[in-house]
Symmetry: C2
Subunit: 413 residues, 2 copies
C-alpha cells in the first residue's frame, strides 16, 4: 500500500467527461489499496476566462484581488471531482489551499510555500478518504489568498508529496512521459523509463515543456520521486528520481533537447582587459534582457570576441543596447543573427567523458552542419547552429547516440 499524490492539469480536468475519467483512475488506484491525494488545476480555459474578466476592468489589476479571482478556478474543480469520486462510492473531501493549510509568503501571483499543515490531511487519509486539493494556491499568515503562479499546481503536488512523505508524486499530463527527444521531429524518439532530476531540469529548461522547472527543482531538493504519466492512456510514464537510466559509472546521453527561441549577438574586437564582460552585459541586463549562453574565446592581438544569446523577443532591444556599447568600447563591429537554433545533448556525468562531446561534433560534421557556438555544463553540451539545420541535427544526434534503443550501457556513440 503506497501513498500517492496525483496531480492532474487543466486539460485532464477540462470537461465533466474528463473529470469523470480522472475519478475512474483514482478509483482504480484506491481499489489497489493505495492512499490517494489528488491535486487539480482549474478546468482548461477557466484561468484565461477569469484573467479576461479582470483585464476588462483594468490592464494591471491589483495582485491580491487577482489571486482571490484566480483561486476560484481550482476551487470549482475540487468540488466537482469530489462529487465524481463520491458518485463512485469513495469517501472524498475537497481542500482549498487555505483549508489545507498551505502557508505561503505574501508575494501574490508568485508566492512561495513556507509550510504545510498535514494534521487534518493525515486524519482524513487514515479514514480512507481521498483528498482533493486545489493546486496553485495557498494563504499567507493573515489568511489572504495567494497563488503560486502559472504551473504552480505541479509545485503544490510536489510540496504535498514532500510534506506527507508520499511514495510518489504522479504528474498526469497530455504526454505519456519524457522522451529522448521530441517525437514530432524524430520518429524513433523513445520514452525514457527513468531520468534524473538534473537531466530533467536541463531538458525542461531547453524547451521540453512536460514539467515546470520549479517543481523539478523542488522534487530534487526533497528527493520526492516524480512520475510523468498520460491522463488519457495507461502506461508507466517516466520516473524522475535520483538515479536515471544511466548511472554515473555508465555516463551516456539521455536525450536531445532543442529550441529556436534564441538570437545570437557578437561584439568583435573588444579590448581583452579585466571588466570588459561586465561593461558589455551590464547595460544589457539593465535593459531587462535575459542572457542565456555567454561565450568568450581566447584573445588574439589583445582583443577578443564576445558572444551571447538572448530570447528572440528581446533581439531588437539587445541589438540596440549593444550598438551603444560597441561605440563606448571602441569595438570593431557588432554581428548578430536571429536565425539560429540551439541543440543540446543531456546526460548525467557526460562532461567528464570528452568522448561524448567528440561524438556529438563528429555526428554534426558528417551532416556538414557548422557549429557556431559551444557551451557545456555538468550534464549537457549545447551548440548553436543555423536554424535551418535544426531537425537534421536532432535526428542525426538521436541516431548517433542510439537513443532509439533502450539503454545498453554502451552509449558513447
Amino acid at each position: 500500500m503506497a501513498l500517492l499524490v496525483q496531480k492532474y492539469g487543466g486539460t485532464s480536468v477540462g470537461s465533466i467527461e474528463r473529470i469523470e475519467a480522472v475519478a475512474d483512475r483514482v478509483l482504480k488506484h484506491k481499489q489497489q489499496g493505495d492512499d490517494i491525494v489528488v491535486v487539480v488545476s482549474a478546468m482548461s480555459g477557466e484561468t484565461n476566462r477569469l484573467i479576461g474578466l479582470a483585464k476588462s476592468i483594468q490592464a494591471t489589476p491589483d495582485v491580491r484581488e487577482m489571486d482571490v479571482l484566480l483561486s476560484t478556478g481550482e476551487q470549482v474543480t475540487i468540488a466537482l471531482l469530489s462529487m465524481a469520486l463520491m458518485k463512485r462510492g469513495l469517501k472524498a473531501k475537497s481542500y482549498t489551499g487555505s483549508q489545507v493549510r498551505i502557508t505561503t509568503d505574501n508575494s501574490h501571483g508568485k508566492a512561495r510555500i513556507q509550510d504545510i499543515d498535514t494534521d487534518a490531511m493525515r486524519s482524513d487519509l487514515d479514514d480512507g478518504t481521498v483528498l482533493v486539493v486545489a493546486g496553485f494556491q495557498g494563504a499567507d499568515e493573515f489568511g489572504n489568498i495567494t497563488t503560486l503562479g502559472r504551473g504552480g499546481s505541479d509545485t503544490t503536488g510536489v510540496a504535498l508529496a514532500a510534506a506527507l512523505k508520499a511514495d510518489e508524486c504522479q504528474i498526469y499530463t497530455d504526454v505519456d512521459g519524457v522522451y529522448t527527444t521530441d517525437p514530432r521531429v524524430v520518429d524513433s524518439a523513445r520514452r525514457l523509463e527513468k531520468i534524473t532530476f538534473e537531466e530533467m531540469l536541463e531538458m525542461a529548461s531547453l524547451g521540453s515543456k512536460v514539467l515546470q522547472i520549479r517543481s523539478v527543482e523542488f522534487a530534487g531538493k526533497y528527493q520526492v520521486p516524480l512520475r510523468v504519466l498520460s491522463s488519457f492512456k495507461d502506461g508507466d510514464g517516466t520516473l524522475i528520481t535520483t538515479d536515471g537510466e544511466n548511472t554515473m559509472e555508465q555516463p551516456a546521453v539521455s536525450g536531445i533537447a532543442f529550441n529556436r527561441d534564441e538570437a545570437k549577438l557578437t561584439l568583435k574586437g573588444v579590448p581583452d582587459v579585466p571588466g570588459v564582460a561586465s561593461k558589455i552585459l551590464g547595460p544589457v541586463s539593465e535593459a531587462n534582457v535575459e542572457v542565456d549562453m555567454i561565450v568568450q574565446n581566447v584573445s588574439m592581438d589583445g582583443t577578443t570576441d564576445f558572444t551571447f544569446t538572448v530570447h528572440r523577443n528581446d533581439y531588437d532591444k539587445a541589438l540596440n543596447v549593444l550598438q551603444g556599447v560597441a561605440k563606448d568600447l571602441n569595438a570593431k563591429e557588432v554581428l548578430s543573427d536571429d536565425k539560429i537554433a540551439k541543440v543540446s545533448i543531456v546526460g548525467v556525468g557526460m562532461r567528464s567523458h570528452a568522448g561524448v562531446a567528440t561524438s556529438m561534433f563528429k555526428a554534426l560534421a558528417e551532416e556538414s552542419i557548422n557549429i557556431q557556438l559551444i557551451s557545456t555544463s555538468e550534464i549537457k553540451v549545447s551548440v548553436i547552429i543555423d536554424e535551418k539545420y535544426m531537425e537534421l541535427a536532432v535526428r542525426s544526434l538521436h541516431s548517433a547516440f542510439k537513443l532509439n534503443e533502450p539503454n545498453t550501457g554502451v552509449s558513447e556513440a
Copy 2:
C-alpha cells in the same frame, strides 16, 4: 458621516459594465464621506451555471462540495468589484465569507449565521478602505465553507449591518422601492417612502418579491434600518424600519398585495367535535402539502364547513387526500376551486380599527365582487375572490384607500 452596508444582487453585478456602475455608485457615497461595506452576489447566471456542472455529475451532489462550488460565484464578484474600486482611486479589499469571518452552523446549503468577527473589518474601515464582502457564504467552526441558501446575500448584508451597527443596510435591486401595489396592475401605484418591518413581511409573504422574508425578519429582530433601492436609477427607495408612513396612532393601509398561486378546498358537513381540524389537516401535512389560510365558521346543526387553501401546484394532491378524509369523517361533500385569487390590504395596527375592513368589503361590494373567504391578522385583511376579478379588486381597493396620494393621515377610506 454614516456607515452604510450596500448589497447588490446578481443582476446588479451581472456584467463588467454593471460592476463598473456599482463602483461609480460606491465612489459617490464615499465622496460624500460615508464608510461603505459592499455585499455582492454571484454574477447573474453564474450560480445556475455551477449548479448545472454539478448536476451533470450527480443528481443530488454532496452538500459540502456543493457549497465549495457555489461559493466561487461571489468570490469572483468581490475580486472584480475591488479591482473596479481601486481603478477609481479608492482603497478596497475583498473578503470571502471565511475571511470575514462569518461563522455559521454546518447545515450546508441553508446554514444559519452564528457569529461575525468585526475586528478586521473595523480596522480596514478606520483606514478608509471600502470592504467588499461575498454574500451568501460563511464557514463553520472547522473552516468548512457553507452557504446560506438562495437569497442569502440579503441576509449577509443585514447580518453585517447588525454586527457593525451600521446606520443603514441598503439593498440594491432592479426595482426602485416598495410600492403600494404592483404598478403593472395599478397605474397610479405609488412608491412608499417608509414601511414597517411587519408590513414588509406581509407584503413579501403575499408575493411582493422585493426582499427575502428571512432578511426582513432578521433586520426587524436587530432593528437594522433596511432600504430598498434601484441599482439602475437614482432615488431614495423605500426605508423599512420600525415606524412606517402610518403610525400606530394613525392606522391605515400601506399597500395592496395579491396572488393567484392558491387553490381552495372545502369539506362540507363535518361533525363539529373537538379534534376534527387535526383529523382533516393531519393527512394533508403528512402528504407534504403546505396550507395557507384556514377558515372554519360557526357550526349549524352540529356540523360545520372547513375550508383551507394550498399552493396551486399541490391542488391535485390535496384534493386526493381530502376525498379520503371525507369518507372517514362521513362528510357531506368536498368542494374545490383552483380559479381563485387572494387579495390583501396591509397596514400597521389596522385590525383594531374595524372601519378598515368594512371599507375593504364595501369597496369590493360596489364592484359586485363576491368574497368567498376572509382571514385577518394583526396588520392585514385577506380575502379570497374569483380569480377573474383580481385586477379589478386590486384597483378598486388601491383607489378606495387613496394609496395613490401620499399619506394624509386620513386614510380610513
